[in-house]
């Protein structure tokens, strides 16, 4: 049973939701790359460089959480197993990126579901970063 008060984010991480049709394979949304957000994130992780920290793009994981919600998988039932970032081109903060998140692979084994999601972050037609996130999820009811 949880006893700590729920943590609330102090600011929104995503902008307008551009595509969230339940039948569409991709959730598309705005991902504002805000200098103040980069600075706050850097401070929390102890990053002292002047660039965008390599893992900053986790800031835009809203699409992954939305897919998990649609799949009926609570956050408490998942374990993050692998993360891959591919950096295609550099961009300075102060722009709005477009994020596209899809479920790229799902495998089931006994009581576990292995899920991989991919998020492409673009500025116009220019691909900036690709993020691949893999989870292990406990299948609801399978333990009974």
């Amino acid at each position: 049973m949880a006893t700590a008060p729920k943590i609330e984010s102090t600011f929104p991480r995503v902008g307008r939701i551009l595509q969230q049709d339940a039948a569409a394979p991709v959730i598309q949304y705005e991902a504002p790359l805000v200098p103040e957000h980069v600075a706050k994130f850097s401070k929390v992780i102890g990053y002292s460089g002047q660039s965008v920290p390599p893992t900053f793009y986790t800031f835009f994981r809203w699409g992954e959480f939305e897919w998990l919600r649609r799949m009926g998988i609570p956050l408490e039932n998942i374990v993050h197993t692998e993360q891959v970032y591919t950096y295609h081109s550099e961009i300075d903060p102060g722009v709005v990126l477009i994020a596209e998140t899809e479920v790229s692979r799902v495998r089931e084994r006994r009581t576990l579901k292995m899920i991989t999601m991919a998020t492409r972050l673009k500025f116009g037609d220019r691909l900036i970063v690709t993020s691949e996130t893999s989870f292990l999820a406990t299948i609801k009811g399978a333990e009974k």
Partner: protein, 128 residues
């Protein structure tokens, strides 16, 4: 050219840092800031976000491949073991044979005080 193994101790994560990271990252899973919720799913108490561990490795990667001299191409991590706040941690890097022309790659590990690998992966960068 990166040569030889590199090692760096990093500060242990604090509970306050986990709360701050939950707020900034949006990963507000209770297992990262509520001991009872973490124990309910089998942990000894709150655990560090995998992505916060990866961020610490990312800081290390940034020191190996300074952005003024290198452009990061790829960075990946597999999360092997749970990290608790207060755990002693260190980052390790070993240069790998180049997989692509003009790109340098290192194998990176985050180890706990018992020498166990808690997360590992690779980072590749291209000299500017």
């Amino acid at each position: 050219m990166i040569t030889g193994p590199l090692t760096k101790s990093i500060p242990a994560f604090t509970r306050e840092q986990l709360r701050e990271y939950a707020a900034i990252s949006g990963d507000d899973n209770l297992i990262h800031y509520d001991d009872d919720a973490a124990r309910a799913v089998g942990f000894d108490g709150v655990i560090v976000h995998g992505m916060l561990s990866m961020a610490a490795v990312g800081n290390f990667v940034d020191s190996v491949f300074p952005p003024a001299q290198f452009q990061l191409v790829k960075f990946d991590s597999r999360f092997r073991k749970v990290v608790y706040p207060g755990d002693e941690l260190s980052c390790h890097a070993i240069p790998l044979e180049p997989a692509m022309e003009g790109v340098q790659t290192i194998h990176v590990e985050l180890r706990n005080g018992r020498g166990e690998i808690v997360c590992e992966g690779a980072a590749s960068a291209r000299p500017r």
